[in-house]
Subunit: 223 residues, 2 copies
DNA sequence: GACATATTGTTCGAGCGGGTTAATTTAGTC
DNA sequence: GACTAAATTAACCCGCTCGAACAATATGTC
């Protein structure tokens, strides 16, 4: 579509473009941050590209320049969010503790960490609504790389060796249980509290739940 | 909802409206059913009204006639889904069993029931993304009406009386734990299996998980 | 037969929203 | 300092989708 010249001499007013600094990495990072918040808030189809653009310090055009299209942006937001979470998990150090204490710590740490990572949980919720269509397949995202799993394997092995834990469980199973309890606490707060009230989500209720989560996991594995 | 087919006498020229049976309830029910599937599949903003209309045995016009707008339809779909689930819960009968057995049954029943209610779970996921904005407030939807809670209260009371269970727990807490474990199994299957493989979601894995869920709940309450 | 309710059918427009085309500036290289 | 690729600004486009308007007809109830 040929566009007729816009510089209108009659108008007399030139459009002097603003000057700027080149900063590809900064621009990308800025877009990713804003997009993460937006997608976490409203989901994939619920988020407006114009809305994201408005909240960035750059323009809509740049989003398409760097990320291709909406789905491409969403994919990178998701991958980035998983990467960040994995990095946070790596920080946890339980080396010195006896197996039972370490396991409880891990479970309760996860409970708290999920609470602090609302945006991440929301992105996972949303991606599950999309049936994981935008995630790398199981091969690429090999679970062996998860530090949560590696930690659990190590703790469980030590517990077995010490005769403390019962045999026949797997690290992935334990991770599943810990995740389920920690995730639900964030993901379903809205509907659960509408039906049953907000009590469990207040300070005291959360302390009780956290303790229970630790209890349940421990009692499951103890011999 | 069957349309009595009428052979047009004056084929093509006139537009003789077909005859029909008045069936407001049927039409409403048909729309609700189709809309439930659609919203469960694609979410609120992801679903197209024309798409819903096409799948019903009636017309788009009727959707607006009965439900006002998209959000009104979504609200009723959600309320209807909760109603159905509550009705299903009512069917469960554990009267005769000793408290520990009853509790395990309830937990494992919930686990299985959630697995069978994928659409319901998806609607709840979606509604949580919307922060429960379309649900009745805690007052109207009083949790006391939940039969799951009533069952748990009754079981827990019996267990306490028998000296089997430890004191200090509440029915809502127990329900929270059971729900968390049963819900996550459905809601997060997509992302979890992408990362850790599909094993836990196959027959054998599910049997193990179900048993663990029962174990964990029981061990939590046993004295 | 009057009247409210239910139903079918068609058309349309406004605005939203994802994506594009074009022009311009920056910055690295020779 | 000329050249060029990459980075960035700015304005535009068009299809999709919600919802409404318009129009007519059938059904049921009293």
């Amino acid at each position: 579509m040929e566009k007729t010249k816009i510089s209108d001499p009659a108008e007399g007013e030139d459009l002097p473009r603003r000057s700027w600094k080149q900063d590809p990495d900064g621009v990308r990072a800025n877009i990713l941050l804003v997009a993460r918040e937006a997608f976490a808030e409203k989901g994939l189809s619920g988020t407006r590209m114009d809305e994201i653009a408005a909240r960035t310090s750059t323009s809509k055009r740049m989003i398409y320049y760097y990320f291709g299209d909406k789905e491409g942006l969403y994919r990178e937001v998701l991958a980035d969010a998983y990467r960040r979470t994995r990095e946070a998990e790596d920080a946890l150090e339980l080396g010195g503790l006896p197996p039972d204490e370490a396991l409880r710590r891990l479970a309760e740490f996860t409970f708290d960490h999920h609470r602090r990572s609302q945006d991440f949980i929301r992105l996972v919720m949303i991606e599950n609504v999309h049936e994981g269509r935008h995630m790398p397949s199981a091969d690429e995202m090999s679970g062996e790389n998860s530090s949560a799993i590696r930690l659990l394997e190590e703790i469980y092995a030590r517990g077995l060796e010490a005769g403390m834990f019962r045999a026949g469980l797997s690290a992935v199973e334990l991770h599943w249980h810990i995740s389920a309890l920690s995730y639900f606490n964030v993901s379903n707060r809205a509907t659960f509290s509408r039906i049953f009230g907000n009590e469990l989500f207040e300070e005291e209720g959360q302390n009780t739940l956290r303790r229970h989560v630790g209890d349940m996991i421990l009692k499951l594995v103890l011999a």
